[in-house]
Symmetry: C2
Subunit: 607 residues, 2 copies
């Protein structure tokens, strides 16, 4: 019997946080001065325990018993309320919020890891607090004190939950076309009547708390068409009455979307104002809704990346344990599958199984390191010691967000599929878990902006903004880390390769940017996903170079055999990624630069 699945390995978290990213140094900043490595560790240990002891044991069961829609209300899994209470008790709702609103004021680099543990245990269940925290944060950032008292307080205390209510059936990702309307109610400053329909609203209804606050995008009647005319409203399911009670607010569930994973978290169609009696409270100023919502979307995008990483991590550890105990075939140089005199070997000894394991490892740990990197920049952007550091970190956070969202989603799906493949025929059966992780993982390249949308955000906006300032800043960061890796004794070949490929990305970006300046926007963006892949390969190589550098430092210190093996595996994974995936950038750059236009040229009737 093998050990239970760790979901995320504590040693990897320790290595990444303190040996690679030195997150303990965050405590030197005033915002985090009350913390020290020990408080980080205590919080993460609690999150890991909750994930392993409470969330994960209900993972399969919540998939098999999805929520039901009965008489207009959603009935979630009966244990969900308990799980929510435990997550509230952990403090996840306000772990990253300031003490002034009752938060623990932990760095995002720590809270992201905490979420990762919860997600690896049970993605659906972790969605409820995630959405509540994000929507509460929107109110905290942009709403009046009155609305904070009315909504945020109870959300942060775990009494009410929240949602992110953006998507409409006809508009999808084209938010500018949303038609949900808001009409001022005479005599009630800041309160509007809301009418419209939303779709794919996660956690849009449940029974375990008294109220749900939908942070809803709508257009005030008369405001401009397109994204410029969108405002943000807090629309509670139950609205506060004058006497301090709650009454129904005419927003209800029109549909329960049946989906292939994340079944612990219902996805709903919501109908607002069918009886013309749905009230919404304007958050902040009118017509700034989309800008506000981007705060939540950016947080959510990082957490989608965290989810892709967490899911792939759980699947990786499952397949690693399986490969160690499952025996089959013989060594390739001793007859392969022919069998005979000697017994079968553990499949981890077959080169192709090792390839599938190392590929998973490279993707999972590369993603985890990227998540910490991006979250750390978010911390510095908000709390850095001076305006220059904050501005610099903001640029890095901005440019890395689309990669941090999409890479763990896309490659995490591939990685999870490899975990299934290692299980062979059993992997295709629902008696093992990889198929469930595969179904869960498939959402991550869709929600919070598809991979295509992330690629347009990166190439059409982030790398070219302010004359390429963010990319130049990233370039500086990489150069420092490449030289550090060299000093630590990482193979020169690997350091040189990353440096050359860094130059390639910079050069390519200039060419593409010039194309857009010349008026050829399509010529710039037609290969945006190829560009995103190329950019991601580089960014993950950077992460692996940093991990290899830390491993070299570790090997140079006092270390036992097992510790040395741990570090050596990191170095091999770095080598694997740079030689295998970064090596693909030459081809990708040609596709982007050559103006390869086959798919633009397919005649309409010829498909």
């Amino acid at each position: 019997m093998s050990a239970p699945n760790p979901l995320i390995r504590d040693r990897d978290v320790e290595f990444l946080l303190y040996e690679v990213h030195h997150i303990e140094r965050m405590c030197e900043l005033p915002a985090f001065a009350d913390h020290e490595r020990e408080t980080f560790e205590l919080f993460l240990a609690s999150a890991a325990r909750l994930a392993r002891e409470q969330l994960y044991p209900l993972f399969r069961e919540m998939d098999e018993q999805p929520p039901e829609l009965i008489d207009g209300r959603v009935h979630e899994h009966p244990k969900m309320g308990e799980l929510y209470a435990s997550m509230v008790e952990l403090g996840i709702l306000t772990a990253g919020r300031p003490e002034s609103v009752g938060g623990a004021q932990l760095p995002q680099s720590i809270t992201t890891i905490a979420y990762m543990y919860l997600m690896a245990g049970n993605a659906g269940a972790s969605g409820y607090p995630l959405l509540t925290a994000g929507s509460g944060h929107l109110i905290e950032s942009f709403a009046s004190d009155e609305l904070k008292a009315m909504f945020m307080r109870r959300m942060y205390d775990g009494e009410w939950s929240g949602t992110m209510s953006l998507t409409e059936p006809q508009a999808g990702s084209g938010l500018g076309d949303l038609t949900t309307s808001a009409t001022p109610i005479e005599g009630r400053e800041g309160v509007y009547k809301i009418r419209g329909s939303k779709i794919f609203i996660s956690a849009g209804d449940h029974q375990f708390l008294d109220n749900i606050v939908h942070l809803t995008l709508a257009r005030v009647v008369g405001d401009p068409a397109g994204t410029r005319g969108i405002s943000l409203f807090a629309v509670p399911r139950m609205r506060p009455t004058a006497d301090g009670g709650l009454e129904f607010n005419d927003v209800h569930t029109s549909q329960l979307v049946h989906k292939i994973g994340w079944k612990g978290l219902p996805s709903l169609g919501l109908s607002y104002g069918e009886n013309d009696d749905c009230h919404g409270w304007l958050v902040g100023e009118p017509c700034k809704g989309l800008r506000y919502m981007f705060q939540m979307m950016n947080e959510a995008r990082l957490l989608v990346g965290a989810n892709g990483t967490a899911t792939a991590s759980a699947a990786y550890h499952e397949s690693l344990a399986y490969a160690r105990v499952r025996t089959q075939g013989r060594r390739l140089d001793q007859g392969g599958a022919r069998g005979g005199d000697t017994g079968p070997i553990p499949i981890i000894e077959h080169p192709d199984v090792r390839r599938m394991l190392l590929r998973q490892k490279a993707i999972v740990e590369g993603s985890m390191s990227l998540l910490i990197t991006t979250a750390r920049y978010a911390d510095l952007a908000a709390h850095g010691s001076d305006p220059a550091e904050r501005a610099r970190a903001q640029l890095l956070y901005d440019i890395l967000t689309p990669v941090t969202k999409s890479f763990p989603a896309e490659r995490g799906f591939e990685s999870t599929s490899l975990a299934l493949q290692i299980h062979g025929g059993y992997g295709y059966s629902s008696e093992y878990l990889p198929e469930l992780w595969l179904r869960e993982q498939r959402l991550n390249s869709i929600h919070e902006g598809t991979t295509g949308i992330q690629s347009l955000d990166l190439l059409g906006r982030k790398v070219v903004a302010e004359g390429g300032k963010a990319l130049m800043t990233l370039d500086e960061e990489l150069r420092v880390d490449i030289e550090d890796a060299r000093r630590c004794g990482v193979d020169e070949e690997l350091c040189d390769t990353v440096k050359i490929e860094l130059g390639r990305v910079a050069g390519l970006t200039q060419v593409l940017g010039a194309r857009a300046l010349g008026g050829d926007v399509i010529g710039m963006l037609a290969h945006s996903v190829d560009y995103l892949n190329l950019f991601s390969n580089l960014v993950i190589s950077w992460q692996w170079l940093r991990m290899a550098a830390a491993a070299c430092r570790g090997l140079g210190g006092e270390v036992d055999d097992e510790g040395a093996a741990y570090y050596r595996a990191k170095i091999e994974a770095a080598r694997y990624w740079i030689r295998t995936d970064l090596a693909d950038n030459a081809r990708l750059a040609v596709l982007c630069e050559s103006g390869e236009d086959s798919y633009l040229k397919v005649p309409d009737s010829g498909w």
Copy 2:
């Protein structure tokens, strides 16, 4: 309302069969002299109709109502018997078998397409006749006349079904380790007592026919260990009695495997001889079981490729139709997702959606062309006009089989995932079909030999056998087609690229072969999957070059606007594949040749 999903487009079949592969010329061979293009067309039209009108309408329902195991018997979907009868009536069981056994003696290049239609309609349902035909064919090829009369006749007539009973729980792909035993029954020549367990036996039980014949691998007591000691037995669920009746043969269902797709086709654990009363009839000679079974496995591998193609095709057409009617966003050079004055556009106008469509098209039609190519060589290997032609075709069939199995499985999964992606949030819901096709597709890289096993078959066996004779023969075929493409007016650039890459594969194979001859088997095979991918990229480029050549010929003839658009799209798809995927071969060759050994070097305790 768009037209119903064609599943597989008839025009593509016509183009491939008669404009690219000239399958009508098969009728010049004596074996197919009774046929003409018209009889091919009639048969395929019937298959298409059956798929569209009977199989596809039950596809979703059979997924939602999977078989149940009740009191030791499997209860399949109640309509399955009707579907089976319709497929028998179509003649699929013996479409490719000779007239002497009641078959239609059609070329495999035609029967493969017929299966593809059925599979695109309902993979699970098509599995029953496929397994019956394959196991009947084993008896036809290797068993005595007595056994043919006893089993094959009724299987071919549609009265009994058959299975392929190889895998054991502990051995998986390592068939040499199988432990199912066979003990001669004194006084009954050729009849043995069978004891053991099998797993993943598709169609291992059902109610709609009277009997099921399991073609079962077992080891006669005393025979050698490993694959050399395996024999093949026909083990009916009900065995014939002396008075012409049937009695239970002590083989029963021990387990119904719950799986994530193909739910129309139950996958079972079988237990043989629990009461020491299971009789098996030896097929052919003892200890040749695995060799015999390879006939069926090779047929089955082609049909797995056909299934991967069919599933990806249905998903492609679904996403193409969706992309034409679903509107969202604006042109990239007119503001993207911002919305505003003009209305949203059909998503097929977005470059990245076009990329996802053309990638699917390239994979689906490239796979379909490869299936026809390989099936045609199978036809020539069996029925070619002289021994030299037959031997030559056999080599080509052998070398292409692992690619024809694995490429449509691996890339078909990617393709199906893109169909889901095009559906956005709806793609993740089970109200649309792409998620179901994705679940179905995931099996194809596992059953009938995983992709890893296919890669070892290709590199460890097929390309190096007889001093590389098969590869040299393939090289000749490609050279002829490259020059033909040039003559037809296909871009010189594309022709040259394929020629260069052909040389790369030949050179690389020599290097790797020499490594094995020098004793370094691991050094040859450690990157077998990279080699398989590189080889597949070339083989599919060859298919696209042939399609582009046919399209150029078509454009040179009399053609209306729609016809011309059809041909132009083929040329763009060829360009896309060669520029995008064949361009990856330089990198893959470096990985194979450089001895990149990261995954071999990860220390055991360091993972």
